[in-house]
Amino acid sequence: MTNSIEEILNTDAMFVIGSNTTENHPIIGATMKRAKKKGAKLIVADPRRIELAEYADVYLQLKPGTNIALLNGMMHVIIEKGLQDKEFIEKNTENYEELAKLVKEYTPERVAEICGVNAEDIVKAATIYGEAKKAGIYYTMGVTQHTTGTNGVMSVSNLALLCGNVGKESAGVNPLRGQNNVQGACDMGGLPADYPGYQKVFNEEAAEKFEKAWNAKLSRKPGLTVSEMLNEAENGNIRFMYIMGENPMVSDPDINHVRKALNNLDFLVVQDIFFTETCELADVVLPAASFAEKDGTFTNTERRVQRVRKAIEPAGEAKADWKILVDLMNLLGYKARYSDPSKIMDEIASLTPSYGGIDYKRLEDRMGIQWPCPSKDHPGTKYLHKNGITRGKGLFMPAEQVDSAEMPDKKYPYALTTGRILYHYHTRTMTGRVEGLNKKASNNYVEINEVTAKKLGIKDGDIVRLTSRRGVVEVAARITDIIGEEVLFMPFHFAEGAANYLTNTALDPIAKIPELKVAAVKLEKIS
Amino acid sequence: MKNVTLTIDGQKVTVPENYSIIQAAKELGIDIPALCYDPNLEVVGACRLCLVEIEGSRKLETSCSTKVREGMVVNTETEKVVKARKDILQLLLDSHPNDCLTCQKAGECLLQAYAYRYDVKFREHDGAMRPKLIDTSSPYILKDDSKCILCGKCVRTCSQVDDRQVLSFAGRGYDTRIVLDLDKTFETSKCVSCNRCVVVCPVGALVDKRLMGKTRIWDAEVKTVDCKVCAYGCEFEVLSKKGKKLAVRAKAPSNGRPLCLKGRLTTELMHLDNPDKPYRKIGNKFVESSWTKAISIADIIEKINKLENNEEK
């Protein structure tokens, strides 16, 4: 998030796109509802009429994969009505002309056609966003998990820049991160081309800095992403994999392909707190400590670094992940000496400018610190780009609407989209073992529009078969009116009848994110 | 000493042959409930809460008084055992006042802990209750007979000190009570307020009066300190809340640790922010006193003053 959660309360307008906030980020969802009560306007765009839609001033039930068209359409209206922030554009941005030229083609009528929504609603949404003094955009995987995910994010950013909603309190471009420390894992260099703090591995200066600090020769060649690793494993080029606290056998697209890839490895180490679906394919499984059994920090969606504290001893002989990693480093002949996690944070701070001022002592005094925090006397950063946009000028990156990699056709006539539900978390490794949560949401299901269901003779609770070009699953039907007639929705939490047997591995060419939000499927009733 | 091996709740344990079952169970981390048992006191087997089932034995046995035997198989939480414990607890509760709401002992009371553990509750009944006899004569100890469960720990700990032996049982059956020196009060008896009895009381029948109303035990921060008065070095606990040191209380008397009033008062004076006034028993009366007199340092202070005055001259 460029901005902070608490700022939502004082915003004038919220635009929630591709995020089921009240289920996936309940505390932010509740904050949005409070903001709405206080008088803020709310625009919701999502293929499902989610809870927030009930509170919305405008709800746009767009077809999966048409975010860019919608965003372009809104920008078209804003420019048409002269609601753009001309002074901001002049002073703080570049490439505006290109954007204006591109969105000119996206009339409300044309966009309405592409997205399957009303043209008036697009105008209304654009007007609300354009007229607001401070407006925030909030999005999640509904924007990013597409082959056009990068362009989708660019278009979100275009809209925010167009109305001067960057570098301003209670506004901004706000991706809501789905997992407790996905922000931190990225910040810490858990990415193939990035050292901690997004310093690039191919940047000579950065590489030399880390070589010196780590006393090791480092590769300048960017590594492989998850999807690429799995492909290379299937091709026999990746021989050894180490998976720490991940469960690709449920979470990754096209599970049949994941299985083939992992089975093809010479050796697989899996480190987890439970015996997951992925553990089954491992050669060695290492028992790890849970978050309650170790010290450390997580970085939340608003860049706030916060303490995790050890409350109890690890289960059985389980060890904290950091201890296991330290042990292995030493056994491999690399000296690693950390008496406790605070010493690791000190090393992180010494090498990562945005974490430069963070240490455990400071985290003890206050409710965490939001990066960038370059020095010990820096209070942290509530919202980004306050003193001008970080790269100098905000760059408009106009993008055309492009179809999803796989569009519904005669053979596979429905667009399957996936997501999370309130009562579960990712692959249910944890929530699947909480009795009450399981009672609330015990089984996998697919949401089917009532009209579609009637047409196919499917009743609520019937077992239906879903087939895509990659796999088949059988799950219970949940008949609903919150979803479009050509769209199906499945939660991706469940290993049994996992949605990811069906999903597409097609990647966004830049971010390498798979198109989990659109797969063409066939739907049949099993008699 | 010879060791024997026995099985308790399916786990094997090897202990010296003079151990009782309750001691052996403790080695395994198995907590057998008991109200009258105390490792530092003579075993009497009175409360019967520590009943366990021993294979080959028809009736339940008290684990505090039954010694371990080689090959013995003991079960501590069978249906039969639990039923017996529930019955015992219910009988105790039936003649116990329902005032955990404000009882000073709440949070440390063994009757409360076991009632919670075995899910036994107070019930309404028309039967007799223990008489509400309360001895308020002492500024140090409050004795409430209505809460007494007659475990006798107080009597046993008092009798461990030869020249005290103030507390004893009196009466029979339902009328049994704990009395001081043939039914005197704290004030009129030869009690010296050492508080050994208060420390061992499992319920709210004997309470440290200087603690009352100051804090719920769960709200207090507790720090253990050593007494500086004599060589025994008894331990006391300093209770504080929100940084304020509120009260001092005695910790369990153990071998060679007699506990005494002077030690407690001295610890109060040294550690508390605002200690209550001390009292001395003069004749058969508690009399408010100065600190110098209460901990008998008047002559020492006088001597110090004299010496320092001399130096100045």
């Binding site: 090791a216 998850v226 991940e246 309650a292 | -």
Partner: protein
């Protein structure tokens, strides 16, 4: 700023503060059962009564603003007696179950009864005897212990904005209920448990299989391990077990949690937890020592590196692990193994 005299001492306070806020700011405690700084003032429980000079009646300090020259008494006999009356009435219609009540040790009614020296209620008469709503999977509502402070209703409405519960019926029969009294499970309730977290008494309590008394626990402040919001919370720990979760009121989440944060901790002490390293031998996993597991991993790493080079390695670090662990993981791959093939499920 205005000047007020509280219990004989003059204070300068901001003019739009309530008497309660002013007192708490200067360190004078006033008891409250229905007050919550996050919510609109309510003035229902009447525990916060104080005397203002010149006024005929005592006033509720949570709803009365300070005025310049105001003279306030927060603990004179008149005030104390009024509070004792309030408690007496509450206790007279409250089940005397502190012996086994799970809330004991963390109950405001119990705290104030102790503080104000009330052993029991003195009013004789009917006691409520209503059915417990046990339908929710995570918590239950016992109307007999409810003191109708309305905190649950207002938190559900004003903060959680779910509006699942409200007051029903009148007078002596008033309870907190869902519309049409259909029970919590069938209501709009999303089981966030924010009502449970504010209940001052034992009316709303979490369901738990582990028996524990509140005074046997310690609290450990930590960050929730579910979504990316990172709510701050306290783990309630008894022995080596996490037995409950309470939201942090001083974190940015402001005393709120969701169903996963509040009730989703039970995986921690789950019997399924991996407790020993496992090594696959002939297709079967067998338990191993750490030394065996490490030795095998290290030899395979060396072997693979020798035969295929560093680029034959791939590592998935974790969005669920700590920053420190993610840092070490990529350091292991980059500095020790020698490849940048490190990624995680950020995109999934």
């Amino acid at each position: 700023m205005v000047q007020v005299t509280i219990n004989g001492i003059k204070y300068e306070v901001e003019k739009d503060k309530t008497i309660l806020q002013a007192c708490r700011e200067v360190g004078i405690e006033i008891p409250t059962l229905c007050h919550d700084e996050r919510l609109a003032p309510y003035g229902a429980c009447r525990m916060c009564l104080v005397e203002v000079e010149g006024g005929k009646n005592l006033v509720t300090s949570c709803t009365t603003k300070v005025r310049d020259g105001m003279v306030v008494y927060t603990n004179n006999p008149k005030v104390i007696n009024a509070r004792r009356d309030v408690l007496d009435l509450l206790l007279s219609n409250h089940p005397m179950e502190c012996l086994t009540c799970e809330k004991s040790g963390n109950c405001k009614l119990q705290d104030y009864a102790y503080e104000y020296g009330l052993v029991d209620g003195t009013y004789e008469g009917e006691k409520r005897n209503k059915e417990i709503d046990d339908s929710n999977h995570f918590y239950y509502y016992d109307p007999n212990k409810c003191i109708l402070c309305g905190l649950c209703v207002r938190v559900c409405d004003e903060l959680q904005c779910t509006n699942a519960i409200g007051f029903e019926d009148r007078g002596f029969n008033t309870i907190v209920a869902t519309p049409f009294n259909q029970g919590l499970e069938k209501s709009k309730c999303v089981s966030c448990g924010n009502c449970v977290s504010v209940c001052p008494v034992g009316a709303l309590q979490p369901k738990t299989k582990v028996k524990f008394r509140y005074w046997e626990t310690k609290k450990v402040r930590t960050t929730c391990s579910y979504c990316g919001v990172g709510c701050q919370m306290d783990l309630l720990v008894k022995g080596n077990q996490v037995v409950g979760v309470e939201p942090a009121f001083d974190g940015f989440n402001n005393g709120l949690l969701c169903v996963k944060g509040k009730f989703g901790y039970k995986f921690i002490n789950h019997p399924d937890r991996l407790k020993k390293p496992l090594i696959k031998k002939d297709g079967e996993f067998v338990e191993a020592t750490w030394e065996e597991a490490y030795r095998l991993i290290v030899s395979k790493i060396k072997e693979t590196k020798e035969n295929y080079g560093a680029e034959a390695f791939g590592g998935l670090t974790s969005a669920r692990c700590t920053n420190e662990e993610n840092y070490l993981f990529q350091k292991l791959f980059r500095a020790v193994i020698g490849t940048n093939n490190v990624d995680h499920c950020a995109r999934l």
